[in-house]
Amino acid sequence: MSFLEDYAYYFGAFGLIFIGLLIMLVKHNLIKVIIGLSILDTGVNLFLISVGYISNGTAPIFCRDDMDPSRMVDPVPQALVLTAIVIGVAVLAMALAIAVRLYQRYGTLDLRKIKELRW
């Protein structure tokens, strides 16, 4: 079980990533693709978090003398993820804004029909 315990996050993360990618590959609706993108982002974030995660760890703050540094959760990934989430949100907002405008212009969100630019 320890294996599953240790790596469950990774499986979850990669699962999300694959789900996200799959959605982006097979779905034709722009909103769904954006949802896929969001899932992908979430997966990546989860992955980043899990890199630094130690089960039953402590906060990486030396508030007491007997804190075991090896039990501390790495703070850096969390900072990273925080940033990444912000960025993800920005991208998402951007994407949605564009989707709205696109719908206004094209009257559809079907990416198979939004193919004026090609070749």
Partner: protein, 490 residues
């Protein structure tokens, strides 16, 4: 002693101050990018003599590397920063009169953010920081591509965004893996430890990062967004995207591969990829009838050429690649700027609508042909020394493979020549259809910006020696991992 932080901080501050400035006067924000870029340019030029002797390491937050986020202002970084500032300045001048409609304040703000992102990417010494700056660059360019809010712009922006987001997700994943492996995000630190783990475990982040950055760098086949975005964006943005954004992406790829991973074995792969990119880009461009799409595909071809040069990984080839990068920035920017006004005048992006443009807009046409000649690599324009260096480096390998690949690359150049000369002919020698050949110049400001670029193109083309010297220093900086690690982890 100026600090490289200023290169990022000042424009960033100005960008966010833009809405405030707009409160003072609606006319003022237009000049802010000008000021910022001029400032950056001056700073970069001031920095160059310093960094040529030794790179400036700017630590942020008081820690010392590898724990802090550091800026590494080496020759390459500063040169790129200078280049970005230069291109930014010229295009800002152009945009003064080109961008008149729409939310202009936001345009200038996003434009500044784009430049900040680009400058950040080239100056940073931290992997995650790289990602952040990249996202700044990307998000602002998504928005800028859709600036006019027309059908094509929005479609291109949507596609660009989706691909860009996938790319950054991959990049982020790669960075996460790197961190998982080494527990550090400092490039120099990672570089110094990269040998300590097995090849296969380095490979996965490498593959992810190369694909992630490759999307932005428009390496074939990750470049599907490029023709759409470049052709649909406003011409000033096309110019900056072509001239700066993909270059910065390339820089990032090169920095990661050369300095961080030191992965010499991927070069062969990149070599073939570069040749393939050249051929794909040029062939697609050859079949185009839309001028901006043609220029965009030509950018792909140029990227291929630069990748080819970088992948040969010798001092000369790197210098050649950097030189080609410079060439591409200046020439393609010039081409897009000139094409922008010609399109503005004729109202269509079809090449056939440019017929007889040489009489209607003589100076703009002249600028366009300078750009075209330069891209093709004809002396005495700037394209020639760069092509010369690339050819020289390929031949100095003294291997049949390289000579053969060079042959393919030159084939690509030939095709490039074919379609560029076609356009130049259309501009000068074809009779325009119905419109009487009245002469009208583009407004003065765009002309000034084009003139600056044209003069630079010719001047460096005639006298490339100082640039080449500086670039070969930069190239050895890129190649010399030990020096990099040493100077950061001092």
């Amino acid at each position: 002693m100026v600090s490289p932080v200023l290169l990022i901080a000042v424009p960033l501050g100005l960008a966010f101050a833009m809405p405030l400035i707009a409160l003072i006067s609606r006319r003022l924000p237009r000049f802010v990018p000008l000021v910022a870029c001029a400032f950056n340019l001056i700073v970069a030029i001031r920095l160059i003599p310093t960094v040529l002797s030794a790179p400036v390491i700017q630590r942020i937050g008081g820690f010392s590397p590898p724990f802090c986020i550091n800026l590494f202002a080496g020759p390459v970084g500063v040169m790129f920063a200078g280049l970005i500032a230069l291109a930014g300045l010229v295009i800002a001048i152009y945009a003064l009169s080109y961008i008149r409609t729409g939310p202009t304040v936001r345009y200038h703000m996003l434009y500044m953010l784009l430049l900040v992102g680009a400058t950040g990417v080239v100056l940073t010494g931290d992997v995650f920081n790289l990602f952040v700056f990249f996202e700044v660059l990307c998000i602002s360019s998504y928005a800028l591509v859709a600036y006019f809010g027309d059908r094509n712009g929005l479609e291109a922006a949507a596609k660009y965004l989706i691909q860009g987001a996938v790319g950054s997700a991959l990049l982020l994943m790669g960075i996460g893996l790197l961190y998982g492996l080494f527990g550090t995000l400092n490039m120099a630190d990672i570089a110094s430890r990269i040998g300590s783990v097995s090849d296969i475990s380095v490979f996965v982040p490498l593959a992810l990062i190369v694909s992630g950055l490759g999307v932005e760098a428009a390496i074939f086949p990750l470049n599907a967004w490029l023709p759409d975005a470049h052709s649909s964006a406003p011409s000033s943005i096309s110019a900056i995207l072509s001239g700066i954004a993909i270059e910065v992406g390339l820089y990032a790829v090169v920095r990661m591969i050369f300095t961080v991973f030191g992965a010499t074995s991927i070069f062969m792969f990149l070599l073939f990829l570069g040749v393939l990119t050249v051929l794909m880009g040029e062939l697609c461009a050859f079949a185009q009838t839309n001028i901006k799409r043609m220029l965009a595909y030509s950018s792909i071809g140029q990227i291929g050429l630069i990748v080819f040069a970088f992948a040969m990984a010798s001092t000369i080839s790197l210098a050649g690649g950097l030189f080609q990068l410079l060439t591409h920035t200046l020439s393609k920017a010039l081409l897009f700027l000139a094409a922008g006004y010609m399109i503005h005048r004729s109202g269509s992006m079809e090449i056939s609508s440019l017929n007889g443009m040489g009489r209607r807009m003589p100076l703009t046409s002249l600028a366009f042909s300078f750009g075209a000649f330069s891209i093709v690599g004809l002396p005495p324009f700037i394209g020639f020394p760069s092509k010369f260096l690339i050819v020289r480096s390929a031949l100095e390998k003294q291997q049949t493979l390289f000579t053969l690949l060079l042959g393919f690359v030159l084939l690509g150049t030939l095709v490039e020549g074919a379609y560029f000369f076609r356009v130049v002919q259309a501009i000068y020698f074809k009779k325009s259809g119905d419109e009487p050949a009245s002469r009208s110049l583009a407004p003065a400001l765009p002309l000034i910006s084009m003139l600056i670029l044209a003069v630079l193109i010719i001047f460096v083309g005639i006298y490339p020696q100082p640039v080449a010297d500086a670039l070969s220093t930069a190239a050895s900086d890129l190649l010399d991992r030990a020096a990099y690690i040493g100077s950061v982890l001092r």
